[in-house]
Amino acid sequence: MAMEKFIKKPDRKPPKLIQSGPISWLLKNMFSSVTNSLISLIAILLVIQSVPFLVSWFLVDATWQGENRAACVENSGACWLYIREKFNLFIYGFFPKAEYWRVNAAAILFFVLIAPLFFKKFNFKLKWGLSVMVLYPVLTFILFYGGVAGLEVVETNKWGGLMLTVFVAYIGIIAAFPIGVILALGRNSDLPIAKYLCIGFIEFWRGVPLITILFMASVVLPLFLPEGVDLDKLMRATVGITLFQSAYLAEVVRGGIQAIPKGQYEAADSLGLNYYHKVSNIILPQALRIVIPSLVGTSISLFKDTTLLLIIGLFDVLAMVVATSADILWLGFEPEGYVFVGIIFWIFCYTLSRYSFKLEEKLSFKKN
């Protein structure tokens, strides 16, 4: 307390700087130099040019209500009426209307099943999560396809829309996971034959475009199967997508395995663990933890890639735009359809990528 008396107070105030307020912020962040000011002006011009146009197309001049196409032609903006009219087709494809509840039930089931994972006190998170991941697609398939418990059979060629997109992406991601892990382990193994077979497999699938794989699945795969074995188009495409995804997953997992320090292997060996125990108890739990963000990343890519199903004639959500815009009563609203589907994909992918970003931060924080 007493010390303060001896500290000399500054005899004048420091020069007054404008360090807050909108004007100084603008000066600092947008007009700090001649070049910066020029860039800002161009950018402002760009915003002024595009934002009003987009707002009027999306909202002001858009058609929200009406009976038919004629209502849309009057306005210069988007025709959201078309989306409303075809909404069920975008979501359920050609699924019979009376059976829509099955798709809804599957969606609700998903959230019910993963709900326990959000409770802190739930102790079997890993086991529960894994079994849900494996069992959920089986349950969904039974629910969609029917044929049991008095459910009417709905052939897979009637599946379509967002439901098909999500279903195929989900199966692709889940089924590719074990294959990808095995391939990654194979690629890292010291058995030359296993190693080179895995390298060949991975590089083959990564080297060719998905579209050729889908073509192959739809025209060549039937030739490879013995007589009498017949997979329908959706199943064949799913097989192709799964193998494609497994090669990408393998590379992600390999990155994780290679990041594990050598000491972990040596410690496991000195404890006398065999290969299975070493891998499943020591290596993989650590390796997979590291690569979770990249796993989410490849899953996002796969989800976007499911739109390619359109090219081999399956009716995913994007294909529904092409199909519905050929309806004579609603000709010529492709842009609205594409924008709508684009927004759906954007919401899914953006949420997932934010999630993976958060996860990355959380995991790297724990490590330190």
């Binding site: 962040n29 947008m30 700090s32 910066n36 860039i39 800002s40 950018a43 402002i44 760009l46 915003v47 058995l191 030359p192 034959i193 296993a194 077979l197 590089e203 083959f204 990564r206 080297g207 060719v208 475009p209 998905l210 579209i211 050729t212 073509f215 192959m216 025209v219 060549v220 039937p222 030739l223 490879f224 199967l225 013995p226 007589e227 996002i300 976007k304 890639d305 739109t307 390619l308 359109l310 090219i311 994007l318 735009v321 092409v322 492709e334 842009p335 594409y338 924008v339 589907v341 684009g342 994909f345 954007w346 992918c349 953006y350 990528s353």
Partner: protein
């Protein structure tokens, strides 16, 4: 001594497992090939590559080499391949420029620019590329004039095509080409000498000025003498279509723009992380030496960032080339569209055709990863 049972011997296990894997792999291949031949025989599908020499009987909207209905399927393959290369090349050029611009802008001190580039990246990378291709294509079809419109002298544009004069090369063009290379050589020589002079005497030379005057001058002369180096045959509107002139389909542009815009988001991330990877001390040291901001970027930051930027960017080039196969959705005649599409439908030899198509993409990706490996080895940081 403990006797180890033979099945616990690690050497035995290694060999046993590998033999087991190999045998099951070969068994799978034999199984598939057997089924394949049985199925093909049953369905009456031909085998072999003889179909490549037979007449295709269909036309292609755009081809870089001479092609018509009487050409062979083998030629169809090359037309498709060249179209794939053309659209990928255009896409790569666009993606590179856009990607570098966006990547550098993301680190700009300008708040508005930073926000706008973030919006760009988050919008375009989270929407499937196929959707973007379809949307660009629809917009092009909507916004272009329905009938041929002369936008520049002798250049017509419409929904169907962009028509430009036919160009043939005169011998004088090669003279201009030689002059061009001599000019480049001279500029390099001059730059080397200027650097030498700078190190010895400390005097600078106006390298940039000399180079730009020479290049601009060359292009002025080139344009002035264009009628000597080239023969132009102007498009003459005929009754239904142009009788002369080269027509380019708009799908080429919608596809390459969509691919470029989409891939640029990934390249910009690579550029950003590359620039961020350069140690802060490097920039500070350069500032302490009194170098200008642009010089720091050009001679200190970018050369070091390139080591981090180039591998992922090359991978993106590869992805773009693979994505160009989506051309088939909008009817641009690329390899997959004309060969794995039309040709396959006509010939029916799915196995051979898919094999050839996949082999092309595999070769391209092997070639690019080979170059990348060489680059990575060369650009490794050499430490004392």
């Amino acid at each position: 001594m403990v006797v180890v049972k033979f099945y616990n011997n690690s050497k035995f296990r290694r060999i046993f497992f590998q033999v087991f894997i190999l045998v099951s792999f070969i068994a799978l291949i034999v199984f598939i090939v057997n089924n394949m031949f049985a199925n093909m025989e049953k369905r009456g599908i031909n085998t072999g590559f003889r179909f490549l020499t037979s007449e295709s009987g269909f036309g292609i909207l755009q081809s870089l080499i001479q092609y018509d209905e009487t050409s062979s399927y083998g030629r169809t393959f090359f037309v498709g391949l060249l179209n794939t290369i053309l659209v990928s090349f255009l896409g790569i050029v666009l993606a590179t420029f856009l990607g570098f611009f966006i990547g550098i802008s993301r680190l700009s001190s300008n708040w508005l620019l930073r926000k706008l580039t973030t919006v760009y990246i988050e919008t375009f990378r989270n929407i499937p590329i196929l959707l973007q291709i379809l949307l660009w294509n629809t917009l092009f079809r909507r916004l272009l004039p329905p009938s041929d419109l002369e936008i520049l002298p002798n250049i017509y544009i419409s929904r169907e095509q962009l028509t430009i004069p036919e160009i043939t090369i005169n011998p004088f063009f090669y003279v201009m080409l030689v002059v061009f290379f001599l000019l480049i050589g001279f500029i390099f020589f001059y730059k080397k000498r200027a650097e030498k002079k700078l190190f010895i005497t400390g005097e600078g030379s106006p390298v940039f000025l000399v180079a730009s005057v020479l290049v601009v001058g060359y292009f002025v002369v080139f344009i002035a003498l264009r009628n000597v180096s080239f023969n132009f045959v102007d498009p003459i509107p005929g009754r239904f279509d142009f009788e002369t002139g080269i027509s380019i389909i708009p799908e080429l542009f919608s596809l390459s723009i969509a691919l470029g815009v989409y891939t640029a988001t990934y390249i910009s991330e690579a550029v950003r992380s590359g620039i961020e990877s350069v140690d802060k001390g490097q920039r500070e040291a350069a500032v302490a030496l009194g170098l200008r901001k642009s010089t720091i970027m050009k001679t200190i930051t970018i050369p070091q960032a390139m080591r981090v930027i180039i591998p992922p960017t090359t991978n993106q080039y590869l992805n773009l080339t693979k994505n160009s196969s989506l051309a088939t959705a909008i009817g641009y005649p690329d390899l997959v569209s004309v060969f794995a599409g039309t040709t396959l439908n006509q010939v029916g030899q799915a196995v051979e055709i898919m094999l050839m198509t996949m082999a092309v993409y595999l070769l391209i990706s092997l070639f690019i990863s080979l170059i990348l490996n060489i680059y990575n080895k060369k650009s490794k940081i050499v430490e004392r």
